[in-house]
């Protein structure tokens, strides 16, 4: 089983290399991308089933045993998120491929898009699977470097200027991350996560707090926790539809996964984490209120994305098995629903030729399919029953109410933020889909991939979006088994024992 563990990282990289070599055959590039990601999805499913049945799966790179060597670890949480993420990247790739066919024709090969897309997928897989703090840094860099290329290619000068915010902020947080790793290494003498977990008790409490806060700030910037979120609504709307969907679906959630993993494994807490509760409230409210003020549909979705990061932070803040498992379930749901909404936003923008809500109208008459594709994920994000969002939110609320008075108050904020989300999305619905149909605004800058007002779409673009909607519905249908898996994942996360003994062997159990 451990033989499979490196493949979700190596296969997309190999795919990237092959798409570079197949730089003149667009058909071959498309086939390589889809086959690779399908294979990774199958492997992730196998890993999830096995990790759920038999505990964490560990692979030692080069046969060097941890803590000296680098270990890859797939436990329930990482395998589940890997599977959901890969399904999302696969659907987004299908959408992106068909958008490229519609815009540039069947023969247009690209030596940047496909390799960078697959490299980003490799980075995401590595971030989920690594059991080593420094390899986590490498994974983030792999992911972010590819994202720098994807956000700045085929766009206008103004948008590149906006993307520079993203690049600068990401580089700053990477620098902080490196500093934090150096400090962790200086304090504990290891960068292997399981090994750090065993040694962190010997570190003085003050220094331990500093390390915890450093890692919180690093992942907080990357996961867009208020007040470190300012870069996200400025940069994501400048990416073309599928790229924005990829970023919104994955990048912040990978950072949240890293936050969840490091905080639960390294820093044990007996009671709810007050600082994190405050951050969760700020993130939920600032995001939701910010969304209400937006006229640009992509900016609105970006603020909602920030707001819903707060929901997961709430799960982490309460810090018991039920709430952490709720956060894991919420993350899985959030990855699919945000990616879907950004894909739908891409379709809406192509139909209307604008991202401004007040210039759209009557799309329900023009394209009822698009209206349905927007309505389902919107209800899911707002958390209306019987969608996946409701199931995940209910798990969080139950865990919060059971944890004490302050978490109960924050659970109330969760409900308020959900209502604000619903209000923001209903506003989009009324502006975009109701009213008299307006003619699409013509495309003034053909080089800019973000706003393509050609109204030309293809069936696979809808199918890919519908596929993601189906994944999100499947999360709702299989909520029972899934919440059992995340429940066991939450128990594992807080215990930490199975993870440590799987990585380090019997001596890890101290």
């Amino acid at each position: 089983m451990s033989a499979l563990l490196a493949l979700p990282v190596l296969l997309p990289m190999l795919g990237a290399a092959l798409t570079v070599l197949a730089g003149r055959s667009a058909a071959l590039q498309r086939a390589i991308g889809i086959v690779t990601l399908t294979a990774v999805a199958v492997i992730a499913a196998v890993l999830l089933v096995n990790a759920d049945a038999g505990g964490p799966i560990v692979a030692e790179l080069g046969g060097w045993a941890p803590p000296v060597g680098i270990a890859l670890v797939a436990d329930r949480l990482s395998a589940l998120l890997l599977l959901v993420s890969t399904l999302v990247t696969l659907a987004v790739l299908v959408y992106a491929i068909d958008q490229r066919i519609v815009d540039y024709g069947r023969g247009a090969a690209s030596t940047t898009f496909h390799p960078m897309y697959l490299m980003l997928c490799a980075g995401v897989s590595l971030a989920y699977l690594t059991g080593d703090l420094f390899t986590l840094f490498v994974a983030f860099e792999l992911m972010l470097t590819a994202s720098y290329v994807l956000i700045t290619r085929r766009t206008s000068a103004i948008r590149i200027r906006a993307s520079m915010t993203y690049v600068t902020v990401s580089l700053m947080s990477s620098l902080l991350f490196l500093t934090a790793i150096a400090m962790v290494y200086a304090a504990t003498g290891t960068v292997n996560l399981a090994d750090i977990a065993g040694r962190i008790d010997t570190v003085p409490p003050g220094l331990r707090t500093v390390l915890g806060l450093m890692l919180l700030v690093v992942f907080g910037i990357k996961a867009a926790i208020v007040p470190l979120h300012f870069w996200l609504p400025d940069s994501y709307p400048n990416a073309p539809g599928p790229v924005a969907a990829l970023f919104a679906g994955l990048l912040t959630k990978v950072s949240f996964y890293a936050l969840l993993r490091t905080q639960t494994l390294l820093f044990s807490r007996e009671e709810p984490w007050t600082l994190m509760l405050v951050l969760a409230v700020a993130t939920m409210l600032v995001g939701a209120l910010g969304a209400l003020a937006q006229n640009d549909i992509n900016r609105l979705l970006s603020f909602l994305l920030v707001s819903h990061i707060g929901f997961m932070l709430f799960g982490l803040a309460v810090f018991d098995a039920a709430s952490v498992s709720g956060a894991a379930l919420y993350a899985a749901h959030h990855i699919t629903v945000l990616a879907t909404l950004f894909l739908v936003s891409g379709l809406i923008t192509r139909r209307t030729g604008t991202v401004a809500l007040d210039q759209m109208g009557g799309l329900a008459k023009v394209s009822p399919a698009l209206a349905a594709l927007f309505a389902i994920p919107a209800m899911t994000l707002a958390g209306l029953p019987p969608t996946a969002g409701f199931v995940a939110k209910l798990a969080l609320l139950q865990a919060g109410v059971a944890a004490g008075p302050w978490p109960t108050v924050v659970a109330g904020v969760v409900v308020v933020a959900s209502l604000l989300t619903l209000y923001a999305l209903v506003r989009v619905w009324v502006r975009v889909f109701w009213g008299e149909p307006k003619p699409p605004i013509p495309d003034d800058d053909p080089d800019d991939e973000v706003i393509v007002g050609t109204a030309r779409t293809s069936v696979p673009m809808y199918t890919a979006t519908a596929g993601l909607v189906a994944v999100s519905l499947a999360i709702a249908v299989f909520a029972g088994p899934l919440s059992e898996v995340t429940g066991r994942a939450g128990t594992d996360l807080l215990d930490g024992g199975p993870y440590r003994s799987a990585v380090l062997g019997a001596e890890g159990e101290r």
Binding site: A6, V20, L21, G62
Partner: protein, 179 residues
């Protein structure tokens, strides 16, 4: 090096069949530096050989694919500075993305091969070969990984020189036209 109108047989004795640095053909007289061109002429092959040495010695000594690739890349940087992008284009006919893709593919395939033998990913084995005259030569299979990295780094450096360097040259040319 410079083209002469009617070379006598004696003077063309050791004249290279091809101009070694093309900058005489493609650059203005003012932009050429004889000293740099002659130094490059001596250094370019030497540095390339040194990079191969670093590649081979890497497993036990300082070196390896990354360092060797960077050193080889520096040789191409020197050549680019002395001869410009046209010269670089003439000496490297292979497209840089092909170099990058091949290097990455080789490195990854070498990483995956141990799985077929039931070993962990990235494991390495040692081959000892008895070569006549030279004696026993030990080869670590991780050398092939290093070869992949070496190609990858060279490809990246040349790609950078081509894409960024040609932009700089274009800007300089435009400035020159304006002045």
């Amino acid at each position: 090096m410079t083209q002469q109108e009617d070379p006598t047989p004696f003077e063309s004795w050791d004249r290279p069949r091809q101009a070694w640095l093309l900058s005489g053909d493609c650059r203005g007289v003012r932009q050429r530096t004889l000293l740099l061109e002659m130094t490059t002429r001596a250094l370019f092959p030497t540095v390339l050989v040194f990079s191969l040495y670093l590649l081979l010695v890497g497993h036990y000594g300082p070196g390896g694919g990354f360092a060797a690739g960077l050193v080889a890349g520096l040789a191409f940087v020197l050549r680019y500075i002395a001869g410009g992008s046209e010269d670089l284009g003439a000496v490297v006919r292979i497209r840089p993305p092909v170099l990058v893709g091949t290097g990455l593919a080789v490195a990854l395939l070498v990483a995956v091969v141990p799985l077929a033998f039931g070993l962990p990913v990235l494991s390495s084995a040692k081959w000892a070969l008895d070569v006549p005259l030279l004696g026993t030569i030990a080869v670590q299979t991780s050398l092939f990984l290093d070869v992949g990295v070496y190609l990858l780094i060279i490809g990246v450096v040349i790609d950078l020189l081509r894409s960024l360097g040609s932009g700089i040259e274009r800007d300089m040319r435009e400035e020159g036209e304006q002045a």
